[in-house]
Symmetry: C2
């Protein structure tokens, strides 16, 4: 049995990224109901909002699901209390060290997965006792590593560095890419962009539409002097880009960034002033699909390429 399916007791090794402003109970429950693992994105929820989503989640699905938790979250203690109190079974942590919280979460029977962008951090995760690792490449949307290692280069290296179950993220927008990620050493995949602009995502319609319209090369890794983040080209991005070209300081960039940019762009649909976080695969997403439609497509593509590998002369030498 596939290691990731076994670990989470799910049908397909497809994890939905717990993305800010996109991943409420509607999206996460749809993914879990389709046979993947849905994640609530706690990064954009106040504690009481997360609690509400957890309650709705329990009604919306009886399949496994989890919470994604950026460890730099300001109200982290309260959030962790809620997760434990609500008996959440799976937590994906990111943006911080797994050392501090993994043991506590695991002592409550929670399966803990941490997101990394290098094999060095994958080893640290293993030492911290996590149950699985997400390795996320340069092409991923939103916050990203400083090493700029792409998924194709990263996964084989993380595979060498750890024996833990491994989930590839970044650039996975099709069944072919899912298959490719498994070939590189991953056991399963985490998919962000496709789900971020699905019908069930809580993101603003205007943001979703800007993603359907996005072309190749329209996202760039930005704000590298602060925390690198992959954004869609818009007015805000252009301003930051110009400042970076001119060598402006971190302080100036922080001032220009201000607060609440991601909410503005992705949740309120302020397309020019907001931060529009999305991955390079956005160029391949042309229309709104429901989560069940996304799963059907992924599975068809996966099965088609599997048949080709087994039968096509393209693969025979």
């Amino acid at each position: 049995m596939n290691t990731i399916c076994k670990l989470f007791n799910i049908q397909f090794p497809i994890i939905q990224g717990g993305m800010v402003w996109c991943s409420g109970w509607k999206l996460a429950s749809a993914v879990s109901n389709a046979g993947g693992l849905g994640l609530l994105g706690a990064g954009s929820m106040h504690p009481e909002i997360l609690q509400e989503h957890i309650h709705k989640m329990k009604i919306a699905t009886n399949k496994p699901w989890g919470v994604n938790l950026p460890l730099l979250y300001p109200e982290l203690d309260r959030i962790i209390d809620i997760i434990i109190h609500e008996k959440v079974k799976v937590v994906f942590t990111s943006a911080g060290s797994p050392r501090k919280w993994t043991a506590k979460l695991k002592s409550h029977g929670i399966t803990v997965v941490h997101v990394v962008s290098s094999s060095l951090f994958a080893q640290k995760c293993e030492e911290a006792g996590v149950d699985a690792i997400v390795a996320e490449g340069f092409e991923a949307g939103g916050h990203n590593g400083r090493e700029e290692t792409t998924t194709l280069s990263l996964i084989p290296q993380v595979r060498q560095a750890t024996t833990l179950p491994l989930i590839a993220a970044g650039g996975i927008g099709s069944g072919q890419a899912w298959m490719a990620a498994q070939n590189l050493g991953a056991d399963g995949v985490q998919i962000g962009s496709l789900f971020a602009v699905s019908k069930e995502s809580s993101a603003h319609t205007a943001f979703k539409k800007s993603v359907y319209d996005a072309k190749e090369g329209d996202t760039k890794l930005s704000l590298k002097k602060l925390a690198p983040v992959r954004l869609l080209n818009n007015e805000f991005y252009q301003i930051i880009s110009k400042m970076e070209q001119d060598g402006d300081s971190s302080d100036k960039l922080r001032e220009a960034l201000g607060k609440g940019r991601a909410k503005k762009g992705m949740f309120l649909g302020e397309l020019e002033e907001g931060e529009l976080e999305i991955g390079q695969v956005s160029a391949m997403i042309k229309e709104e699909k429901t989560v069940p439609q996304i799963f059907t497509t992924l599975l068809n593509e996966y099965q088609t390429v599997k048949n080709e590998i087994e039968n096509s002369s393209k693969y025979q030498f």
Copy 2:
């Protein structure tokens, strides 16, 4: 039969990148003799040197081979005369428009392949009448596209944009990555880094050793204000990186770059002053191998992952 094998009449769809300062007749003939397609790297050869390598190549192998030709080359007319006069059968062009030269080369019976970093340029190549396309992702060593699209994101998009035979480049350092590239829509792969530091490469031993010692994250896309190029971290890289952080102008960067940096670094082994062009997969290359050893490893890895796809429960849902 695999499209790339058929196009070039070779055993395996593995093309050796025609890299400056690495790809003389020794490397190219070893690759062709091993069943791939070897390319002489004309980009670092004066016309008379290229002619000499072509002569040696004809003695060293009776298998198919070609010449890689950056179209911005200063003595381009003379080089093209030599290629035609010597009846070279395959030319890979890069760094320029395929529009100007493809027809002339093809009128002499030459198979023409052009290197691109976007599907927009892939379409232009098809219009220009090339026979195949290399699509090269962000993780590749040396000169690189401005779009920063990774191989995992790029190949499916180029596959949609053209029906021409498609070769994936950037991040291909193993049989698993070769399989992954084919899954994404490529018919074959072009491999640079592995061959750049092989025993048969004409690069300096000190450069090769610096690649064996390189770790994850040790290469970065640099000189973006001029022409983006992926370099290994060294003193020269640090100087340029600092200038870029400070927002220095193109003129200042051009002055700091000077001339002959790649020769210094890769051919003369001046590791701190030179430009060390290599891809992200350098982190996975730990020792010198011969070209036949590289082929054996690639084929074993490819066959192993193919067997796994067919038989392992990891791939069954």
